[in-house]
């Protein structure tokens, strides 16, 4: 079982292995929120968590860590064992016997964990139960259980059983299976031996799929009985133990589909085939009794529907069961031991005690892991956009750039720089990856932070029957996975990589990866910040005849800026709590009908995103004696294991906008509420505004992106167009567009308030990006209203952490960024 972690209580977080809790883990949205609460700083909160990450490929979580150490998957167990020993030494416990390993930052991590006893947590992404047991042991030593780890509210997300699945595949092969129903499952694609499984599927007598399309598995089924889309269905969920949620339809079914549950009820010969009735009945008998004082069931049901979630005040203890008895181990975490010594945290109410034999576990780890392996290890990972590939046909997700590599429309082999140099590879070169009897040719991407001797490849690509957008995008990496000791291991410990002929260009929205020592992102360390809240900030000064001045004190306009008498819409972006996940990017695309342009157009550097998250890697320090040209060249090189910073970049709604003055036809003008607005039907497309935008956030409609066969994504047919937001214009060819601060929402909010004869309240009008931000890093509101959070944050951080990007050119953005504070030891 996977417990719920509570990062809000964790002063020290140590992640080991594929512990991407801010990125691709189930529940990452909740974890991101909790994590950000720790990372946020204000005048009343000058402390934040310290985060260590030991991982192979650079993940979102690793990118956010204060200290990140690249490790090979073959070292993972030993790293955990070493950490255990160090923690045990500091807490006076007995050491375990495991091969020694030298890992940077491990001693610091151990020291911090022990110092923050009860307020620290160690998490492991390992599929190896021994590693998980040892992780539990460390957590037990540092008193994490019940504090930062909640075994009570265990996660049900993505729960599954690899062994059972393997047995099923075996049985299919042996022809022992008479009937199979595929519900939200596509093993022909995503099972490592999916191809053989597909061939063997013929041996199954009855094959039914509930898929909404003839996907890889459904196309091999006899019957496809498409389920409703989730927006068309009733349903319920228990994502975490003790958290019940109801799913209700928002539209009538578009196609002649039937809820899978209704199909099952029909086939089961139920008297009442209505699934809604069944669902209500289930809640009446199973959930309603837990609701005390909710009144009648109808009241309870209506209230739950309204809230969307039901949380019983006390979770019945019977839900928590000792792991040895639970038959649903998880693919993602704390896999059940099958062949190894059974040792699990035993549940005692809401707390747990650790009672496993760590020495036995250490012995097993000592056999499995090596401190120095010479093999090239392949790590399979999920990208936060495409995930496991079931949404591969969503063009928004395909075009969503990976937060780390900023590449889209492909998977690729992430290789460390050292390996690329040794093999004379440059980005886009095709290589052949061989391992486990499977081989693919795939382009390489040089990934800073990738552990030496390892490569990484994303799963979720190479779909054959996903649909128009998702087919043949990238290569399928699932066959590299394999079952190890009963759990699916997404590591191929020994792959052969050889240079292949040809090139395949990777579509990236950002091709320059370092910040070139520019004060665009301002950074400081926590200790500096505690001394001086303005630490790390760059305040440009302009020499004038009256002495040095801040750029904003100088103006050629007599009025010195626009006057915003009513509202002044603005934003504060906290670089500390932005994890770079990119949810805002997709939210913005969907809200604002941002066109998808496809791989080739992204290669042409013409993605239309109004909001992007710039990702910068740090460069190694440049020697003082280097010449100017040499310095610039060195600054372009990202470090081998860089520090990473994410900067959401959108229209800054400058008060003195350079785009506005240059438009010959006044298509872009300033509103009386601080918005830089784009009048699409006045625009003639000179692109002067985009050239003169220092932030490069303006996007031209290079082509007609709707009703155009060349852009057959979601704006080329009636069904796809249902995605479009009716409140937002679909822009014509030749027209410039950009972030509008979701002006349609502002107008709606103002009108609603006006109808009720009141001022808009804070939080009532919110941009799509701010709404989708799990960490609250983006705060939007009226700067003129002192009650709003955005105004208060600006007031508080002015002259401290608050800075405007490129303040020296005096364009006066309405967006304030807060200095990134790291908590390095």
């Amino acid at each position: 079982m996977v417990p719920t972690y509570n990062f809000e209580n964790a002063d020290v977080v140590v992640g080991i292995g594929a512990a991407d809790f801010l990125g691709t883990w189930p529940g990452s949205t909740e974890y991101s929120y909790q994590y950000a609460q720790q990372r946020k700083l204000s005048k009343d909160k000058k402390q934040m968590s310290r985060h260590y990450q030991f991982e192979t490929t650079l993940s979102i979580t690793g990118a956010n860590a204060d200290h990140r150490t690249p490790i090979k998957p073959s070292q993972e167990g030993l790293v955990v064992a070493a950490l255990y020993n160090q923690v045990a030494k500091l807490t006076g416990g007995a050491a375990i016997n495991a091969p020694a390993i030298q890992v940077t930052n491990l001693d610091k991590a151990a020291k911090d964990l022990v110092a923050a006893k009860g307020r620290a947590v160690v998490i492991s992404g390992s599929k190896d139960v021994n590693v998980q047991i040892l992780t539990n042991a460390i957590n037990s030593l540092i008193g994490a259980n019940g504090k930062t780890i909640d075994f009570g509210a265990a996660s049900n997300l993505k729960a599954g059983n690899d062994t059972a699945m393997a047995a099923f595949v075996q049985e299919v092969q042996q022809g022992k299976v008479a009937a199979v129903l595929f519900y939200n499952a596509n093993p022909v694609y995503d099972y490592p031996t999916g191809k053989t499984f597909g061939e063997n599927l013929q041996k199954v007598g009855l094959r039914i799929s509930f898929a909404d399309r003839f996907d890889e598995t459904a196309s091999l089924c006899e019957y496809v009985c498409p389920d409703h889309h989730y927006l068309e269905s009733w349903g319920d969920a228990e994502p975490k133990r003790g958290y019940y949620s109801v799913i209700q339809p928002t539209i009538n079914p578009i196609f002649k589909t039937r809820a899978a549950q209704e199909s099952l009820l029909t086939w089961a010969g139920a008297t009442n085939k209505n699934y809604f009735a069944y669902l209500q009945n289930f809640w009446r008998t199973n959930v309603y009794p837990q609701a005390k004082g909710a009144g009648s069931f109808e009241n309870f049901w209506t209230q739950t529907l309204h809230d969307g979630v039901f949380e019983p005040k006390t979770v019945s203890a019977s839900i928590i069961q000792p792991e040895t008895q639970v038959n649903n181990s998880n693919t993602n975490d704390a896999a059940r031991p099958l062949t190894q010594p059974t040792a699990t945290p035993a549940a005692t109410g809401s707390g747990v005690t650790f009672n496993a034999d760590v020495n036995a576990v250490a012995a097993a780890i000592g056999q499995t892991y090596k401190a120095n392996s010479n093999a090239t290890e392949l790590v399979l990972y999920e990208k936060s956009g495409i995930g496991n590939g079931d949404q591969a046909n969503n063009p928004y997700l395909q075009e969503f750039p990976d937060p780390i590599s900023r590449a889209c429309w492909d998977n690729y082999l992430a290789v460390p720089k050292k390996m690329a140099v040794a093999m004379e590879l440059v980005q886009g070169d095709l290589v052949k990856v061989e391992g486990k009897g499977y081989s693919i040719e795939i382009p390489v991407l040089i990934q800073p932070g990738q552990a030496e001797g390892t490569v990484a490849l994303a799963i979720g690509y190479g779909r054959e029957k996903a649909g128009k957008a998702g087919n043949k995008v990238g290569k399928n990496a699932y066959p590299f996975a394999s079952l190890v000791n009963g759990t699916m291991s997404f590591v191929a410990p020994d792959v052969k990589i050889s240079k292949a002929k040809g090139k395949w260009e990777i579509a990236q929205v950002q091709t320059h990866h370092t910040i070139m020592a520019r004060p665009i992102v301002q950074e400081a360390n926590l200790n500096e910040y505690q001394q001086n809240p303005a630490a790390g900030s760059f305040r440009p000064v302009v020499e004038s005849s009256e002495g040095p001045k801040s750029p904003t004190e100088i103006n050629i306009w007599k009025a010195n800026g626009h006057k915003y008498l009513n509202h002044s819409w603005g934003m504060v972006i906290d670089m500390n709590s932005c994890t770079g996940c990119g949810a805002c990017v997709v939210a913005c695309n969907v809200e604002n009908n941002v066109p998808v342009v496809g791989r080739q157009e992204v290669i042409n550097r013409r993605e239309m995103h109004w909001l992007r998250i710039d990702r910068y890697y740090s460069a190694d320090p440049v020697p003082e004696e280097a010449g100017l040209i040499e310095k610039n060249r060195l600054l372009e090189e990202a470090s081998a294991n860089p520090e990473v910073v994410f900067q959401p970049m959108l229209c800054q709604h400058c008060q003195q906008a350079p785009c506005e003055t240059v438009c010959p036809v006044l298509a872009t003008t300033h509103s009386s509420e601080g918005l830089n607005q784009m009048t699409y039907n006045r625009c003639i497309g000179t692109r002067y505004c985009a050239n003169n935008c220092p932030y490069k956030v303006r996007r031209l409609n290079w082509f007609k992106y709707h009703n155009n066969e060349k852009f057959d994504f979601h704006m080329n047919n009636d069904l796809g167009k249902m995605v479009l937001n009716p409140d937002v214009t679909v822009r014509a060819r030749g027209v410039m567009e950009k972030c509008s601060f979701c002006v349609q929402r502002i107008q709606e909010g103002k009108l609603n308030a006006k109808k009720e004869r009141r001022r808009p309240k804070d939080g009532e009008i919110i941009t799509a990006c701010a709404q989708s931000c799990a960490t609250g890093a983006i705060v939007f509101g009226d700067l003129n209203d002192p009650e709003t959070r955005v105004a208060q944050m600006w007031e508080e951080e002015q002259g401290k952490r608050g800075f405007r990007v490129l303040e020296e050119i005096n364009v006066r953005p309405q967006i304030t960024y807060l200095t990134k504070i790291r908590n390095k030891a």
Binding site: R606, L700, G734
Partner: protein
């Protein structure tokens, strides 16, 4: 127009031409059937125009995406070509207006063609204005026209609007000036016309010119007024074009040196283009006695001066970038020199700054072949100058996350070819159907600056050998 010319000056008209010779030599190619060479050249121009029209169709029908532009580089070949053509167009006005006011008589042989070139070049520049906008069917919104959109006006703050005014004024004034100058010559052709069509056509075109003294007087007055009007345009047009860049916030564009630097560059490239065309014309139409080595020499000197001004401007930009202490500015210039477009920068430096210095050598300055090659080199260099300013400044500006490269597409190239096709089609039509040299003005200097006259006044040489010439209408009694 008569005035004293020092006998030590080099003659401007060679071959002992008389008034009749001038008329005969210049009208010959207008009246004769097109030569084979002309036919071939014209056909090639039409092919280029055809290729270009296909590219223009693609640009207008499918969108600006047919070009290699992207989110970071919003202008590249379009505005490079625009500025390049506008720059080329500068020589015409300079020659016809400023040199007229300065009474530089050598201009008479070349001003007609130079002005024609100006007009065609400005038309080519205008083509790029229309090609580069995303919605060409609404391009007229750049004009301050009365309208029903709630009286929506243009943005008078925008340098692009200034551009529209500057370019359209320039085109109008140049066209009028050029045409007024043509009228006496058109009347000459009319009077000599042998076919009815030609008589009617040139009759209409010559506006009923009667050659009366009063008409000539008015003509002179109008020319002077138009010269006065055009003179500020020589400086203003490229100044305003430079403001497209200078008023922006982009490092490498935001530079106060731009107006004089652009004007010098424009004259530089314009003179080079005039040389290219004139050297061809004097060969093809056998006008070596009117467009002399002396003309070439004088124009080469202007090229040295303007080329050097441009060179100083390049170096000044670097100095200011360093002196400003602005990191973005410094990077922009270092990047020009050593970044991914270093080859464009060094092509520019070689073509514009280094190669014109060869013209200090008299032998090169007076060599037709060397001048012809250098004139083309200068225009290649000036094209690169605009490319360097536009693309290398944009492709790496403030935020490194948006840094990008620009690669031209076939349509980019095709649209450039379009303007070459347009330019040469118009130029060959002009060369065939209109007098390429201003007969009236040549005749006006014949008395003072032709070789026979200057020869006659040289103290050591008697003019006896020219007695036959003296009997012709060109004979100048005052000179005796």
């Amino acid at each position: 127009m008569s005035h004293v010319v020092s006998p030590v000056r080099e003659p401007l008209v060679l071959g002992g031409k008389t008034y009749a010779d001038v008329t005969e030599d210049i009208c010959r190619q207008v009246e004769a059937k097109p030569t084979k060479l002309w036919n071939i050249a014209f056909l090639i121009s039409l092919v280029l125009l055809g290729i270009g029209m296909y590219s223009a169709y693609r640009t207008w029908w499918y969108g600006i995406g047919e070009w290699g532009l992207n989110k970071t580089v919003g202008w590249a070949w379009d505005i490079t070509n625009f500025v390049w053509w506008v720059g080329i167009g500068h020589a015409g006005t300079l020659i016809s207006a400023i040199l007229l006011l300065f009474r530089q008589k050598w201009r008479t042989a070349i001003n007609r063609a130079a002005e024609a070139m100006t007009i065609f070049a400005v038309l080519c520049a205008g083509t790029f204005i229309l090609l580069h906008v995303g919605r060409v069917w609404l391009a007229y919104w750049c004009l301050p026209l009365p309208n029903t959109y709630g009286s929506l006006w243009v943005n008078f703050n925008s340098p692009l609007v200034w551009d529209v005014f500057a370019i359209s004024t320039y085109l109008t004034v140049s066209l009028v000036f050029w045409y007024i100058g043509l009228i006496p010559d058109l009347a000459t052709i009319r009077d000599r016309a042998k076919t009815k069509t030609a008589r009617i056509a040139y009759g209409i075109l010559s506006f009923g010119w009667d050659g009366a003294a009063k008409t000539w007087q008015r003509y002179e007055a109008v020319s002077l007024i138009l010269a006065g009007l055009s003179t500020p345009l020589v400086l203003s047009v490229h100044t305003i074009v430079s403001m497209d860049f200078a008023t922006s916030v982009i490092p490498g564009w935001h530079t106060t040196i731009f107006p004089p630097y652009f004007v010098a560059g424009a004259i530089f490239s314009g003179f080079a283009m005039v040389l290219t065309l004139m050297l061809i014309t004097r060969e093809v139409f056998d006008l070596k006695e009117y467009i002399t080595i002396q003309h070439m020499d004088v124009m080469n000197k202007i090229i040295i001066i303007t080329g050097s001004i441009v060179g100083v401007a390049y170096i000044t930009e670097f100095f200011i970038a360093w002196y400003s202490g602005v990191q973005y500015e410094q990077y922009a210039f270092l990047n020009r020199m050593s970044g991914p477009y270093w080859w464009a920068y060094w092509s520019m430096m070689t073509c514009n700054v280094i190669s014109p210095q060869l013209l200090w050598i008299k032998k090169i300055r007076q060599s037709v072949v060397a001048t012809f090659i250098l004139s083309i080199v200068v225009n290649i260099g000036m094209w690169f100058e605009r490319f360097v300013i536009i693309v290398t400044s944009l492709h790496r500006d403030y935020l490194p996350s948006s840094w990008a490269m620009f690669y031209p597409t076939l349509v980019d190239i095709g649209d450039y070819i379009l303007t070459f096709g347009l330019f040469f089609t118009l130029f060959f039509l002009f060369a065939k159907f209109l007098p390429v040299v201003n007969m009236a003005e040549i005749k006006a200097i014949l008395k003072t600056s032709s070789d026979i006259q200057l020869e006659a006044h040289k103290p050591t040489v008697k003019a006896a050998s020219h007695s036959e010439a003296q009997t012709r209408p060109a004979y100048n009694k005052d000179a005796e």
